[in-house]
Point group: C2
Chain length 319, copies 2
């Protein structure tokens, strides 16, 4: 079985916890290394197997990820997959040397966002994917490579994004040999029909089993968009505990889709996630304690699973 | 054009604001009549055309609806549709006499809930639908009749509900001559695939244009379920401003799906709602002021529409 198949089995849904990366990069306060390791431990005990745990950046510019080597070791000790972002050549070299299981490169869907976000062209961003793939291929542990296309459903700088453009970039990333191609609704512009259309188009190019989706719940479409992606054959879905992870220029906007609610969606759609919701909800204690200023979202944490706790109560005129 | 076609045009989506009924029946505090009339005025100016404004009950048992006659008049003056619940024979007579545009009867999908909620059998509840239809047919203004099936996707008292049972009850309600048959996920058990399966089955019995959906966002599936209903041909969808309307035995659980977010979903799916989102969001001021202890939900109110306000901001490593 290839490394890719072992990390992303084609016959099941893989839910990627990105809260430890996406959820920490904008917060004033962030958890201690010990608290993050406890988070990894408890969420993996709940059944989550895949964690995006940071970015390879100089510790000065991202102190919340300065402990990334320890986090990677902790994932290995727990027997779960570690993933990290790389943003430049130096990061790619460091990532491959770190033993991280999956290396994620970000490619913007628009030149405007590419320049604003990473001060480089789309072509240069695809070049970094290509370089990362080559470095990974030469590494003993053969990390999986993942190209995430930001603003794939609309760009807050340049507006609408043509699906042809997204398909072109996805194709270019796939040609570099990247194992996984991700489509990201970075700023929450998409509706479910656009998600379905885009996922089906890109899946036809790169294969549905190599396609991932990264959704933000900025405008409340997160679960509807996740359902549309799953219906389109996508089996790699990002989410974060409590919906952690915001958008720096949408004050108060929710972040990623909520992992706890996504688990309920998947189970209701007949996918076995292997995740125990009650235990997963319990892990919210850690960010709630470590990042008290961050709002945690999610309906499952409020309502709980359907069942006994709901019984024997009186209803008045409820419809 | 029939009364039904004028209230529910088959060629468009009708969004029913139920916050003034469902949203008020469990609150300790409720808005003054003047505030509710302001709410109707401002939400209708935003483009919402259909309002469920109360239940026909003795004023003692439901003081928040004691002003229902004034609310019906206000709707008429504003040129929008008024709808109200009836829970017994007396209520049916009062409703027909009140001039309300639409009369809603509730039928439970399970005997256990029917007894717990209204101390009557399902057969007796269908009997009230039948009586209401006959009374409405004799009335000069020919009110539309609507049978809402509660717990249609799962019951907090008796658990799973067989689709055959829901279809049987929906068929019985349709046979009474009720204009609209509604399916309600009263306690938020459904996922989108169950919604699609159920809506398609019931639509095949009663016709998609006569089918309505009433969703609670208890477990965060609301928008995914609304998308599934729209994809199944449902064109009558309930929602409430700010997601008002709770469940008396799920503390902290969200209520109805959020009208503001549903409008965005519909527009993203290509349905023209005729609703101005910015003005709609502004109406939240009224419940926020009148019912300060009630939490208002919704992402659109936080994030706003995609567009100019999003531009010219710097992103760091956003995916």
């Amino acid at each position: 079985m290839s490394r890719l198949d072992s990390i992303y089995p084609a016959d099941r849904v893989t839910l990627r916890e990105v809260g430890l990366r996406d959820g920490l990069q904008l917060t004033g306060r962030y958890p201690t290394t010990a608290a993050k390791q406890d988070w990894l431990g408890r969420e993996s005990q709940a059944g989550v197997r895949h964690f995006e745990i940071g970015s390879f950046l100089p510790g000065r510019s991202a102190p919340q990820f300065a402990d990334i080597a320890e986090m990677i070791r902790t994932c290995r000790d727990l027997g779960v997959t570690s993933a990290a972002l790389v943003l430049n050549d130096r990061g790619a070299v460091d990532a491959v040397g770190s033993g991280v299981d999956e290396i994620v490169c970000v490619v913007s869907a628009t030149e405007e966002h590419s320049q604003a976000n990473m001060r480089r062209s789309i072509a240069d961003a695809v070049g970094l994917v290509s370089k990362t793939v080559r470095l990974a291929a030469d590494a003993d542990h053969q990390p999986v490579t993942h190209a995430g296309i930001a603003m794939a459903f609309g760009c807050s700088i340049s507006g609408d994004v043509a699906l042809d453009q997204v398909a072109r970039i996805a194709g270019a990333c796939a040609e570099t040999g990247a194992d996984v191609i991700g489509l990201a609704d970075t700023v929450g512009y998409a509706g479910p029909d656009q998600i379905a259309l885009s996922c089906e188009r890109v899946a036809s190019l790169v294969g549905a089993t190599r396609l991932g989706i990264h959704l933000h719940d900025t405008r409340g479409m997160g679960m509807a968009n996740a359902a549309a992606a799953l219906d389109s054959g996508v089996r790699i879905v990002d989410a974060s505990l409590g919906g952690l992870g915001g958008c720096p220029f949408a004050p108060g906007a929710t972040g990623n889709i909520v992992m706890e609610d996504l688990v309920f969606l998947c189970e209701r759609k007949g996918f076995e996630t292997g995740i125990e919701l009650d235990r997963l909800v319990g892990v919210r204690e850690i960010p709630a304690t470590e990042m008290p200023e961050e709002q945690l979202y999610g309906a499952m944490a409020r309502a709980g699973l359907p069942g006994a706790s709901w019984r024997a109560a009186s209803l008045q005129n409820q419809r």
